[in-house]
């Protein structure tokens, strides 16, 4: 039910469109935890946009609850809608390459994002995540809304310890 609610919120936010992100991107003040590069129009560093935690948390935050194969029990994620983040950077492309701190990477089909509330989670169960807790950023898909057959494919895309995104 809460997944549904947050999905609705997410969809509503998408309909309302980008809310005043036409302002130039500010520079990160804290430690950079996410870098977005590739086909984007807004940058705050050479050919890329760097984000610290505060910048990410300035976006509207959404919530997803689910059971994952790597944790015990139901987990509550809070984070930025990936789609909104990309829109705010004027990102255009077909695929998104998400790379983790340990150089794990996954390729996400951007078309799929259109009707799927995918988050870049900044909080797990109300707390920021350390690297040890698969943080500080974790791409999460609404796992509970997928069929058993679809899950493995999306699970591979749920990159934890996310460090960078590349738009192609």
């Amino acid at each position: 039910m809460r997944v549904l609610l947050s999905t609705l919120l997410f969809l509503a936010a998408m309909l309302l469109g980008p809310l005043g992100w036409s302002a130039p991107l500010s520079a990160p003040e804290g430690r950079v935890i996410l870098s977005v590069s590739g086909n984007i129009t807004k940058t705050n560093a050479p050919e890329r946009s760097d984000f610290d935690l505060a910048m990410l948390e300035s976006y509207p935050l959404y919530e997803l609850e689910m059971v994952t194969p790597w944790t015990e029990g139901t987990q509550r994620f809070q984070g930025v809608a990936l789609k909104e983040l990309l829109q705010s950077l004027g990102a255009k492309g077909d695929t998104l390459r998400a790379v983790a701190l340990n150089d794990y990477h996954a390729t996400i089909d951007l078309k799929e994002l259109a009707d799927m509330p995918v988050l870049i989670a900044v909080k797990l169960n109300g707390s920021h995540m350390r690297v040890r807790d698969k943080g500080p950023l974790w791409i999460v898909y609404p796992m509970d809304s997928f069929s058993a057959a679809d899950r493995p494919r999306h699970e591979a895309n749920m990159v934890w310890q996310l460090r960078s995104l590349e738009i192609h």
Binding site: W70, K134, P152
Partner: protein, 647 residues
């Protein structure tokens, strides 16, 4: 092929195709699933290899920082990544299989404990402090080999291999069961097809002789008639019925009867041409369809051949039998436009052949239909005749010889049909019995007789008893007593003035099974007379047991008095018998005055016949009764001559 049959075949084909397709698809899916399973089996191994990798990268980073080349941040990141790797293996469903590898949990716990222990030293390590870094590397070095071993075990250890082996084993089992399913399904379909064709054959053929049965031949007749109409040819229908088959069955036994039927079937099959069909209609009745003939003579020739072949001597389990058959033949479209009418015609001709004797086969003639048609027409019109009072009752007086007076009248049925004219009471009763009109007819007769009596009463006449004839089925199928009770009440008729005449030959057999019937009638107060006495089936025992009041001596015995030498012995015996049982005797069919003398001599004092009066209508009987009331008897015994009154 009829449409429903095409539909059935198409449906069957669809079922087979769906069955085959779904079997194939499920087999393919199954193989695919098994392959997928063996691939994802490796998924758990990923996390284990990542641990080994992260451990190597961390120790390498320790050495690098110890040598003064890396930064503390990089070291902390590697430390955290290693840490998170351990936790990934410690929880969650994806790595649950890896944890089942023997010693895995202990190894992970030990490694985590070690990391907890060295955490302060790692986080406070400054680049170039090799003295601090090296011992840390040494503490972790032993884990490298163990993690490597764990990694290999989880990837292709005995459990994993066992699981893969099991998957293939299951795969094989499922393949075998699918093969079994296909085989049994195919077998089932084949059996179904065979069963249905067999039951179809059974439903259209006679079990004993293997010949087509009535159902089959009805279809065959229709299609043969269509062919004949199209080709302008004739179609002969022969109906064959064995003579005395029942006797053979009864005397030799049913197995002989069955053998006889089988041999007759063989003989019939051996006598027909390639365009002809033999069928068994049931019992000892066979039918032959003769197709594509051009002359009626072809038909009668075959009839003759068939009868001749059947009539040959036959040996049944050692007994010699000479079978014979009656055959009727009718030709389509010569004898009728409708092939089922042709079959009825052939049937009629067969019955005629059987009845006439001497000839074994008859060709249908239109007159044969007439009697049947007459019965049908009369039956149809009898119903309206009863309801419309088209019938009438005539009355024949019964006279006391000494006084010459009328003592009672017998009511007799008259029907004048517009088409067939006068219809005899025997035929009317037979038709009423056959077509289920007996109750209506008998009630009508009783009611009319009672009304007639009441009519005399209303005229102030000297009344006499009225006798009515009751047909046999009234005793068996219907409640005669109830009908009488109601009719007597409705008409106000005094019961003792009504005489019920029971016809001896037809009715006694039925009454024997329910002797209460007559007693019930007697309880109502009506009189009972036994009609046609001496001709039919009755034992003296009946006379004693049944509540009979009168015996009517059959006319044949009276006629015996008219031939010389006279033989009054039977009349004498009946009169004596009646006297001893205290019954009244009435002679029927008196035509001559001499009969009266002879009867008086034998002690019979009552009689009816043309000598006194034939049956007359209501008006005439009223005249007779009123004359009698004025002292003029119908008949007088004179001193020298007998005078019969003719009013």
């Amino acid at each position: 092929m009829p449409r429903y049959q095409v539909l059935r075949v198409v449906l069957l084909l669809c079922v087979v195709v769906v069955f085959a397709a779904s079997t194939l698809i499920s087999y393919q899916r199954h193989v695919e699933t098994a392959q997928l399973l063996t691939v994802t089996q490796k998924g758990g191994g990923w996390a284990a290899s990542e641990l080994a990798f992260e451990l190597l990268r961390f120790t390498h980073m320790l050495e690098t920082v110890g040598a003064g080349r890396g930064t503390a941040d990089e070291l902390a990141l590697r430390f955290d990544l290693l840490w998170s790797r351990i936790e990934v293996l410690q929880e969650g469903s994806e790595t649950s299989e890896v944890r089942e590898v023997p010693g895995a949990v202990a190894l992970l716990d030990e490694l985590q404990a070690t990391l907890t222990l060295i955490e302060p030293s790692v986080l406070s390590l400054k680049p170039g402090e090799a003295a601090v870094a090296d011992p840390l590397v040494d503490r972790l070095r032993p884990f490298e080999a163990r993690v490597r071993a764990f990694n290999v075990d989880s990837y292709n250890g005995p459990e994993a291999l066992e699981r893969i082996r099991r998957v293939f084993e299951l795969n094989w089992l499922v393949s075998v069961s699918i093969t079994g399913l296909v085989l049994s399904g195919t077998l089932l379909i084949l059996m179904l097809i065979r069963e249905s064709s067999r039951s179809r054959h059974q439903s259209l053929h006679d079990e004993l002789t293997g010949l087509p049965n009535r159902k089959f031949i009805n279809q065959q007749l229709k299609s043969a008639a269509r062919d004949a109409s199209r080709n302008g040819t004739l179609l002969g229908v022969h109906v064959i019925d064995l003579n005395n088959f029942k006797e053979i069955n009864d005397t030799l036994g049913h197995s002989y009867g069955d053998q006889l039927l089988q041999q007759v079937a063989q003989r019939l099959c051996g006598s027909i041409g390639p365009n002809d069909t033999v069928a068994r209609l049931g019992g000892d009745e066979f039918l032959v369809i003769q197709e594509r003939i051009t002359q009626a003579d072809d038909c009668t020739r075959l009839s003759k051949t068939l009868c001749g072949r059947i009539g040959h001597e036959m040996v049944l389990s050692g007994s010699r039998v000479y079978p014979s058959a009656s055959l009727g033949v009718s030709i389509y479209p010569v004898d009728a436009d409708d092939v089922s009418q042709v079959q009825i015609n052939a049937d009629l001709a067969m019955y005629r052949a059987k009845r006439d004797g001497g000839v074994s086969y008859r060709r249908f003639e239109p007159e044969m239909n007439d009697s049947l048609q007459r019965a049908n027409t009369l039956a149809r019109e009898l119903k309206t005749a009863i309801q419309g009072d088209e019938l009438s009752l005539h009355y024949q007086p019964v006279v006391a010889f000494d006084s010459g007076k009328i003592v009672s009248v017998e009511a007799l049925l008259r029907w004048h049909n517009p088409q067939y004219g006068y219809v005899s009471p025997v035929e009317v009763v037979a038709i009423a019995e056959q077509y289920g009109l007996a109750l209506e007819l008998n009630e009508w007769v009783i009611k009319q007789a009672c009304l007639q009596y009441q009519y005399w009463v209303s005229l102030g006449l000297e009344t006499v008893c009225v006798a009515v004839n009751i047909s046999p089925s009234m005793y068996v199928l219907h409640d005669l007593a109830a009908s009488l009770t109601r009719l007597l009440r409705e008409t106000g008729m005094p019961p003792e003035r009504l005489i019920v005449e029971v016809t001896e030959d037809t009715t006694m057999r039925d009454i024997e099974s329910s002797p209460d019937t007559l007693h019930n009638l007697k309880t109502l107060g009506v009189q009972i007379a036994l009609d046609d006495f001496g001709t039919g089936y009755s034992s003296l025992n009946h006379l004693k047991r049944l509540p009979v009041d009168k015996l009517k001596i059959d006319r044949s015995f009276i006629q015996d008095l008219n031939i010389t030498p006279k033989d009054p012995r039977i009349i004498r015996s009946i009169v004596n018998l009646a006297e001893s049982l205290d019954l009244q005797v009435i002679a029927e069919g008196i035509e001559f005055v001499q009969n009266v003398d002879d009867l008086i001599a034998e002690g019979c004092l009552l009689g009816q016949g043309y000598l006194f009066s034939k049956a007359v209508d209501s008006e005439r009987i009223v005249e007779m009764l009123s004359a009698q009331g004025q002292g003029i008897p119908l008949f007088q015994l004179g001193a020298d001559e007998r005078i019969v009154q003719r009013i």
